[in-house]
């Protein structure tokens, strides 16, 4: 009798945990979808918030990582974007979309984003 009760309790706890996990996953799904929608409208701050929240729930998801990197890039957070792209590529080295985005980002990052400072000076502006 006691054993049956204990087993029932464990079962209930497991079911709850699964349900909450599924709900979190569904929320992340909604966040990514909504993030893509607002990004297309140019609301990058909100897109970043959505993708970051989804990333907290599903940290290994390559698509979320890709979208998060793009949002970071759009907001000029190039160092963060670089780290996120690298993580996304580590998770999915063969993903063509991530590879393409990263190649374009790397080209931009190396050739444009690093502004030169006056040579022969201590770098401080007057």
């Amino acid at each position: 009798m006691r054993l049956t009760r204990a087993l029932a309790t464990v079962g209930a706890v497991l079911a709850l945990a699964c349900a909450s996990g599924g709900s979190a996953s569904r929320n992340a799904h909604v966040d990514v979808k909504e993030g893509v929608r607002v990004a297309q409208l140019g609301y990058w701050q909100e897109a970043l918030f959505r993708f970051s929240r989804a990333h907290e729930t599903v940290p290994d998801d390559e698509a979320t990582l890709n979208n998060l990197a793009v949002a970071q890039e759009a907001l000029g957070r190039y160092d963060d974007a670089l780290a996120t792209y690298k993580l996304a590529l580590k998770k999915a080295p063969k993903n063509a979309v991530i590879r393409k985005n990263y190649a374009r980002f790397a080209e931009f990052f190396t050739s444009y984003a690093r502004g030169a400072k006056p040579k022969g000076d201590d770098g401080a502006t007057r």
Binding site: S25, A28, H29, V32, K33, G35, V36, A39, Q40, V58, D61, E62, A63, T64, N66, N67, V70, E73, A74, G76, N95, A96, V97, K100, N101, R104, F105, F108, Y112, A113, R114, G115, A116, K117, P118, K119, G120, D121, G123, T125, R126
Partner: protein
């Protein structure tokens, strides 16, 4: 897990406007003196006869651009200031000249450099396929294709007016092809200048570049 079928789910392309830092770390309120610019001359090449001064036109265009896009204090040009040498490679070595010019004008930085403007005549005969309407056979005929090109090559230099040392050098090059030979040199040169506008101004002030990325849909 959640987006396991991301590749199948599709992607959305988005356009980003990425901020690009200026090549020179300036506050934007410095005093700039523009010029003098040196027109490059090569001993083995005859210079085209132009009805205008390439270096003066560039200086005027640069002044217009900086006035429009930045808040620098642009100092008036001094009469009779000539480059210290006719050799573009020697310009950066003339530190005394740039320092003295800085003292005379009260500038923080001097924007100078060398310019090479060339008119390239690429006209010539080209073989073209031709089908006769009479016998329906294919022939080849020579057709004269008239093309003019303008090459504009600048080595823009920014000098520290206190020390006379060069703080930044930027080579900029543009080629504009014109389909007709009737296009005059002045229009050709300005086509080059407009094309280089963004790169020139990005030395001094931040700009944005438009680029595309792809977002993955769940």
């Amino acid at each position: 897990m959640m987006l396991a079928s991301a590749a199948a789910a599709g992607v959305r392309e988005v356009e980003l406007s990425l901020p690009v830092r200026a090549k020179l770390a300036l506050t934007g309120h410095e005093k700039l003196y523009l010029g003098p610019f040196l027109r490059e001359t090569k001993a083995d090449e005859a210079q085209p006869r132009l009805g205008f001064s390439v270096e003066s036109e560039f200086e005027r265009e640069l002044r217009r651009l900086l006035r429009k896009e930045a808040k620098f204090i642009l100092l008036p040009s001094l009469e009779g200031v000539r480059p210290p040498t006719t050799d573009p490679l020697e310009l950066t070595k003339a530190t005394d000249f740039w320092r003295e010019l800085g003292t005379r004008t009260g500038a923080d930085y001097i924007v100078a450099g060398s310019i090479d403007f060339k008119i390239e005549d690429r006209s010539g005969y080209k073989q073209e396929e031709y089908t006769s309407p009479i016998d329906g056979r294919t022939y080849y005929r020579q057709v004269l294709v008239e093309q003019t090109g303008f090459t504009y090559d600048i080595l823009l230099q920014v000098y520290d007016a206190r020390t006379g040392a060069v703080v930044h050098e930027e080579p900029l090059k543009d080629f504009q092809e014109m389909p007709e030979r009737s296009v005059d040199e002045f229009s050709g040169m300005f086509a080059n200048l407009y094309s280089l506008e963004n790169q020139v101004i990005n030395i001094f002030v931040p700009r944005t570049v438009k680029t595309k990325r792809q977002l993955i849909l769940p």
